[in-house]
């Protein structure tokens, strides 16, 4: 190990949502005096508005800090922030791979939660040294000893002398900083070996092109070097290498084993660099790439359409812009008879989907119509051919299907014991298969279910929150595909199928949902000149029916001299309302109608 390496500490902070990860990161920045207190903006690592509002980190970021320790030496801290949500599990795992240690933040008022566990296991799997930090000790309901006990009992790591802090008040932060020096190992690696650097993130900069974040494991990289991305098989010449300082990028001569930094090359889109890929030299390549690389595949698909058809081009531009920084967002053009031109978009999960939708609406000022999210089904056709279906409208008709499979998730729920009954009912309703349950202590339990993703994306999280007053936490990962009785539910308005409303449902569930959605549609279709039948069908079988009665009266009885102006205003107002309507064949529908399929109540 070189001297340079001896004084480097690479670590990340992991925590359950809201346990104070970002606040702790802020305090660390502040205490290392990297950021002057007066310049501190709350939660500096999260620099997207949306992140700040939701209190979650969407994209990983890294920062280099200087810390003068009590032993008199100056250390370089590379703090690698990780996304805190299950949708971004793979990104989290790659960020962890770039570290030797992790601060595991546990809220002293909440204890260990589902994501605390999931993240801790992930860190353990990646051979990280875990340094527990108990946070929020300033709160009256803090139970520091209880938290310590849970960390030891549930996660199984010693926590006797772990720091107990209040990130909010800046209490005991020095303890954490010192612990990083003593407990987290310095990075190993041979600076003279062939280059091996792990890509753990990237972002698009309009001036620099794609900025790639790496952790160098072996070797050294300098501007001008010819590099190869091993999984992609592409080669580039390095323009620049450097480090991430709190207020921007700083060019350096080189990055060598143990260091965390960035490089730029003539890389056009973030899609050209894959998180988890290995960077090596083209002329002196490493023998083998770092293990664990995989392509991230979207789990949830949804159709996104501009409410105003004329803004299709704007929507495409916006999606392209978002994709510059988010390689896990995929989209391709699709057309719907009902909604016109739009895009079928793939997301890592529901949160990812919501974030993209919200950013499209907020940052690009678009009005969107989104179809119900769908998972990817695997269907074996009668002819033996196997197809993957990400769009309900492409789902084969019942007589063409030999066997259908749907993705099943391992769901891990941590809840106060009071709600166990309610959660089990909910999971049962959602076709969950009970695996096991462990009592964490007298007050909390961890429940494992295997459950179709199809059920999870259907408002499951909201239902879980509402049944547990928000106390339960959820974490899930893909287990595999399982044979299932699936049918496509179509809706017909005035005898015509509206493709955008179709979705796939477990057969036994079809009747109940069909009825509810038909009712919701009825509420969202204004009366028109003719009676409009709403029918829900499976294949050619009608399983639910509602009727929107014909409009009776739409007339201005009196219309004389002065009224002409008034009548014109009335017409204009009606026209405005009409513009917002979507025409589905012969039927006009409010844009909200599409939401009817998206959001049903708890009982689903």
């Amino acid at each position: 190990m070189t001297d340079r390496q001896k004084y480097i500490r690479n670590f990340s902070i992991i925590a359950h949502i809201d346990h104070g990860k970002s606040t702790l990161a802020d305090r660390i920045l502040e205490k290392t005096e990297t950021v002057a207190v007066r310049d501190m903006e709350e939660q500096i690592l999260d620099n997207m508005d949306l992140e700040r509002e939701r209190g979650i980190t969407i994209k990983a970021r890294a920062i280099r800090l200087a810390y003068k320790a009590k032993d008199g030496e100056e250390y370089v801290y590379n703090l690698i922030d990780t996304p805190g949500h299950v949708d971004f599990g793979y990104e989290v795992s790659r960020s962890l791979k770039a570290c030797e240690g992790a601060l595991l933040v546990v809220d002293a008022t909440q204890g260990v939660e589902a994501q605390t566990l999931a993240n801790a296991y992930l860190a353990i799997d990646n051979d990280l040294e875990i340094l527990p930090v108990i946070n929020k000790i300033d709160l009256a309901s803090a139970d520091v000893e209880g938290a310590r006990r849970e960390i030891e009992d549930i996660i199984g790591i010693p926590a006797e002398d772990c720091p107990a802090v209040s990130a909010k008040c800046g209490l005991n932060i020095e303890d954490v900083l010192e612990k990083i020096v003593t407990d987290i190992p310095a990075p190993e690696g041979d600076p003279t070996a062939p280059l091996k650097a792990l890509i753990f993130d990237s972002h698009y900069d309009p001036y620099l092109g794609v900025v790639v974040y790496v952790r160098v494991l072996d070797g050294e990289m300098r501007a001008g070097d010819k590099i190869r991305l091993m999984a992609q098989g592409t080669e580039f010449e390095l323009f620049e290498v450097g480090t991430m300082e709190p207020f921007g990028l700083k060019r350096q001569d080189s990055l060598s084993a143990g260091e965390v930094g960035y490089f730029t090359a003539s890389i056009k889109t973030v899609g050209d660099t894959r998180v988890g890929d290995t960077v090596t030299h083209a002329d002196r390549p490493a023998d083998e790439a770092l293990p664990g690389f995989r392509e991230v595949h979207p789990m949830v698909y949804s159709g996104i359409y501009p409410a105003d058809g004329a803004r299709y081009g704007d929507l495409r531009d916006a999606l392209e812009k978002l994709q510059l920084n988010d390689a896990s967002l995929v989209f391709e053009p699709e057309t719907s008879v009902a909604l016109g031109f739009g895009f079928r978009c793939g997301f890592l999960g529901l949160l990812h989907m919501e974030i993209i939708e919200e950013r499209l609406e907020r940052e690009f000022n678009l009005d969107l119509i989104t179809t119900a999210p769908s998972v990817i089904y695997k269907v074996e056709l009668r002819g033996g051919e196997v197809v993957m279906i990400d769009n309900p409208s492409k789902f084969p008709s019942p007589d063409e299907i030999s066997v259908a499979y749907e993705p099943i998730m391992k769901a891990n729920i941590i809840t106060p014991t009071d709600y166990i009954g309610g959660i089990m009912d909910l999971c049962q309703e959602r076709r969950g298969v009970f695996v096991d349950m462990k009592y964490i202590d007298t007050e909390r339990a961890e429940i494992h279910y295997e459950m179709p993703l199809n059920e999870i994306i259907y408002d499951f999280f909201d239902a879980l929150k509402s049944r547990t007053k928000g106390y339960a936490s959820l974490d899930y990962e893909l287990k595999g595909y399982k044979q299932s009785k699936l049918v496509k539910l179509d809706f017909m308005l005035n005898g015509e199928v509206v493709d955008a409303l179709s979705f796939i449902v477990f057969e036994d569930r079809a009747y109940g949902r069909a009825r509810k959605i038909a009712e919701k549609l009825k509420e969202n279709i204004p009366r028109q000149l003719f009676e409009i039948p709403i029918q829900a069908t499976i294949g050619s079988k009608i399983i639910a029916r509602e009727t929107v009665k014909a409009m009776r009266k739409d007339v201005l009885a009196k219309c004389y001299g002065g009224d002409i102006t008034r009548k014109k205003k009335l017409l204009e107002k009606q026209k405005e309302g009409k513009k917002k309507m979507r025409k589905l064949g012969s039927v006009e529908v409010t844009p909200e109608a599409f939401m009817a399929v998206l959001r049903l109540d708890d009982e689903g």
């Binding site: 000149l529 409009m551 009266k553 102006t565």
Partner: protein
């Protein structure tokens, strides 16, 4: 804009004994007679302001409010100004809106002597309970008395206003009202569906009242159409029925997009391509009766829209050829699909080169007009 042979003159009298519970027209209750005289002077001066133009006028309409509250002297004063300012044709239709209980034999004779040849009487219903909810000041028998007086005074063109969709009204009670009025055999009958206008007493207390259902209201509307048609009245406009040749010539001007001048508070005009109004405030008007409000030029697109919006209120509808000559496009070509649908549904018809709505179509005319004016 079309300048027919003669233009229409509307004169607004914003005074009532009491304001009806559903009324949101510009009208003031309990105003002193001297103010009414002052107002008549202001009207006369506004009318005289048109003298230089030398317009030919062939319809005059005294609306309100309750114009029959005018004293014979004030009425004469206004008519004198009319004759001085316009070429009033001999066959001019001169209508006076009147409420029962505000007319006696002498007054009526004086009005007739000044030229009134058409009277429009507000009855609304023959049932006392319905009249009461509406806040009308008269009973059915008082109406009958006034009606008789009109006939005795030689008025051979009488309109009776009726309403349906009233609180407490039933299909049966409305049928009785229709029958009673048909028996009287007025030349013209207006049948209005009640509209609850914001700010009116009826609107405020609607939750305490029981209104006929939507279906019931539609039944009443169709009932009027069927009964009155059978009795020889033509349903010539959404809310108007008349004996042949007894249509309100004045109101037809509005619907045919012809010119008219409106004088008095809140009155609107359509002149030289402009629509404009006068103030709603009595004091404002008495101070300055020349100021325009909401003056708007109706360009070709505007006219094309109004032609449909107003023309389709009439049974006669729109001449397709005339429309194409004026606006350069063929309605049947532009809205082909929609028109076929409307025709199939029995809401519209194209016959003898004219597009018009049926009685059923009238009832959803806003919707249809919207569909047929998409890009204008």
């Amino acid at each position: 804009m079309m300048r027919a042979d003669g233009i229409g003159l509307y004169i607004h009298l914003p005074f009532c004994v009491r304001k009806c519970a559903y009324c949101d027209f510009c009208s003031f209750a309990g105003v002193d007679g001297s103010i009414i005289s002052e107002y008549a002077d202001a009207l006369a001066s506004e009318i005289l302001s048109y003298r230089e133009r030398g317009f030919k006028v062939d319809t005059v309409f005294f609306g309100g409010g309750t114009p029959s509250l005018l004293s014979p002297e004030d009425f004469r004063k206004i008519m004198r100004a009319v004759r001085e300012s316009f070429l009033l044709s001999d066959e001019a239709e001169i209508t006076l809106e009147a409420n029962p209980k505000t007319l006696d034999r002498n007054k009526l004779e004086a009005f007739v002597a000044s030229g009134v040849n058409r009277i429009s009487l507000g009855l609304q219903s023959i049932h006392e309970n319905e009249l009461k909810t509406l806040g009308r000041i008269h009973s059915y028998s008082e109406f009958l008395e006034t009606y008789r007086l009109c006939r005795e005074a030689g008025i051979d063109n009488v309109n009776v206003d009726l309403m349906y969709g009233l609180p407490g009204q039933t299909v049966e009670s409305f049928k009785e009202t229709l029958r009673a009025v048909i028996d009287l055999s007025p030349e013209h009958i207006s049948v209005y569906g009640l509209i609850l206008e914001e700010g009116t007493p009826l609107y405020e207390k609607q939750s305490t009242l029981s209104f006929p259902s939507e279906d019931c209201e539609y039944e009443m509307y169709l009932l009027a159409d069927r009964h009155l048609s059978r009795a020889g009245y033509c349903h010539y406009e959404i809310s108007n029925y008349s004996r042949a040749g007894k249509e309100s010539r004045h109101n037809l001007k509005y619907w045919r997009c012809e010119e008219y001048i409106g004088v008095g508070v809140s009155a609107h005009s359509y002149l030289d391509g402009y629509r404009f109004g006068r103030t709603q405030s009595l004091t404002e008007y008495l101070r300055d009766n020349r100021e325009y409000l909401n003056k708007e030029y109706i360009d070709r697109d505007g006219e094309a829209l109004e032609k449909i919006m107003l023309g389709l209120r009439l049974r006669e509808g729109i001449s397709l050829k005339e429309y194409e000559d004026l606006f350069g496009f063929d309605l049947t070509e532009k809205y082909r699909e929609k028109l076929i649908t409307f025709e199939k549904m029995g809401y519209a018809r194209i016959f003898s080169g004219r597009l018009s709505l049926t009685a059923e179509g009238f009832y959803v005319s806003n919707y249809i007009i919207n569909e047929l004016t998409e890009s204008t």
